[in-house]
């Protein structure tokens, strides 16, 4: 069981909560406490809008253990409107309709269960085509 790990990351996972650099206003996701632009300390929480577009994507048929029950699924690099790229699954999409540049929006979905059906449910961000 990896309870503490999932619990620790819940804000980032559920709500796309990252950071903003108080020195140069760069938005940071995933949070890393140090601004990748100016190197200053950046611990101010910032909730992303969840809007973005597909930068690249692919479909996974041979999924890792823990994800095989939902395969095949589409994963993407999503360019958030605030700047950062995020790696995430696309959901509610038909694979053939996905394109680079497709506008997407964040939703909170079930990512996996921790271990087997007795384990905790892990929820987190995914993206779907926005309308």
């Amino acid at each position: 069981m990896e309870i503490a790990r999932h619990w620790r990351l819940k804000q980032q996972r559920y709500g796309l909560v990252g950071e903003v650099c108080p020195h140069c206003d760069v938005k940071i996701f995933p949070p890393r406490d140090v601004c990748p632009e100016c190197g200053g300390e950046a611990k101010t929480l910032y909730t992303f809008s969840g809007k973005g577009e597909v930068y690249s994507y692919t479909t996974i048929y041979e999924a890792p253990a823990g994800y095989d029950e939902t395969a095949p699924y589409t994963v993407a690099l999503v360019k958030l409107e605030e700047g950062p790229l995020v790696t995430a699954q696309l959901t509610d999409v038909d694979e053939e309709s996905v394109q680079i540049g497709m506008p997407v929006e964040m939703v909170t979905r079930k990512l996996r269960q921790d271990g087997d059906e007795r384990g905790m449910l892990v929820y987190g961000y995914k993206f779907r085509k926005s309308t």
């Binding site: 692919t58 479909t59 048929y61 790696t87 987190g124």
Partner: protein, 386 residues
């Protein structure tokens, strides 16, 4: 400072070795390297391995292999840098001998994939990526490569079969390597008809995971045994560099910064220019990685790496032969052993022992070992000592 000579080389065939254990694989390569070096005794052992704790439930490979090789008492540790573990172990061995603190260092790369079958293997591989923000989304190394290849293809307008040259070259060269997993050349339509693994990565864009072990024994020239039978090959340049672990944290993911940095340093240390490199053993875990390595290392301008393969310039009679013994694609991809295989193969070429695959008139070979999408890149320049 002293020169570092590759005095001994050894390798197992790369394959699904169902009947051979992790330690037996390592031991086979290790003993072969010691024999090849005329029985030189190592004082240190550096083991390159990526996934033994996950796949074989076995950590602490330094002590394990030293023990089984009858070398108990020597310095022995594991070096891990995902797919670059072999290259990273080689660099540790190099540093130990180069510094003068160790007379002879053994570097063994070993990987045993087949102790686990099924989706646990993908799960283990994904531990090399950002566990919290990549693997948690169900990402795999193959999917990472596919994201890169899709974006590359999009930005540079690469045709559907644009990457075929990498697989064709690899398989043509695998045909002359008795240790290769695939020893048969393929035809262009084999590539175009291949099934998708993770679109646009098809079966021939991804190297097959398999078991294997390779070893080199490094020492100083003055410690070589009398009557040393091989032409001397030295490590002329050695460098490693890192990049962001996660792809999404890169400003420019279509450039392998770590490959660029480590190549620059290694070439500079060797005192050569890039055009003096006679052949290149790149880390073609995926054909997109081969293209990006060629570009980031400086062999091609950006967006044109795939053309080197498409224009037959990386074949054995091309301007920059690559994957001369099959590369990861045809020799097989034995995880953390790969970087040491590259060293063994380049040394074989420089010694003139590459048989049917022997390149003519070569002096400098470059090998590059990547961890993940070049989150680690280890580059070495090997030189035939004249």
């Amino acid at each position: 400072m002293t020169d570092v000579i590759i005095a001994g080389i050894g390798q197992t065939a790369v394959n699904e070795h169902w009947d051979v254990s992790l330690r037996e694989l390592g031991l086979f390569a290790l003993e072969a390297a010691v024999r090849d070096a005329g029985g030189l005794k190592p004082q240190a052992l550096f083991v390159g391995n990526m996934l033994a704790p996950n796949l074989s439930r076995q950590a602490h490979l330094g002590a394990l292999l030293a023990d089984f090789a009858g070398l108990t008492g020597i310095e022995a540790v594991t070096v891990e840098a995902a797919g670059a573990s072999g290259g990273a172990a080689l660099r540790q061995g190099y540093l130990a001998v180069k510094s003068g603190l160790v007379d002879a260092a053994l570097v063994v790369g070993v990987e045993k994939f087949t102790d686990v079958v099924g989706s646990e293997v993908e799960a283990a591989l994904s531990t090399a990526s950002d566990s919290d923000f990549e693997a948690m989304q169900g990402m795999t190394p193959t999917a990472q490569a596919a994201l890169l290849m899709r974006r590359y293809t999009h930005e540079y307008n690469v045709p559907a079969d644009g990457f075929a040259g990498f697989a064709l070259t690899a398989h043509a060269n695998g045909a002359g390597n008795k240790n290769a997993m695939f020893q048969k050349a393929i035809k262009p339509d084999t590539y175009t008809r291949a099934s998708m693994v993770s679109d646009p990565v098809n079966m021939f864009d991804a190297a097959p995971l398999a078991d294997g072990a390779a070893a080199v024994l490094l020492t100083r020239p003055d410690l070589l045994p009398p009557g040393f039978p091989h032409p001397l090959v030295r490590i002329a340049g050695s460098a490693t560099a890192s990049d962001t672990l996660a792809l999404h944290d890169r400003k420019d993911m279509l450039f392998f910064e770590a490959a660029y940095l480590s190549t620059g340093k290694a070439v500079k240390q060797a005192g050569i220019t890039l055009d003096q490199v006679d052949f290149f053993e790149y880390h073609d875990a995926f054909s997109i990685y081969a293209a990006l390595s060629l570009e980031s290392s400086g062999f091609s301008i950006r967006g044109h790496g795939w053309k080197l393969a498409a224009d037959n310039r990386i074949t054995r009679d091309g301007s920059l032969p690559c994957a001369t013994m099959g590369g990861l694609k045809a020799r097989g991809y034995p995880g953390g052993a790969t970087g040491v295989y590259q060293a063994v193969e380049a040394a074989t070429q420089l010694r003139g022992q590459a048989g049917a695959n022997q390149l003519a008139n070569i002096r400098y070979g470059m090998i590059q070992s990547l961890g993940g999408p070049a989150s680690t890149a280890v580059t070495h320049i090997l030189e035939k000592v004249s």
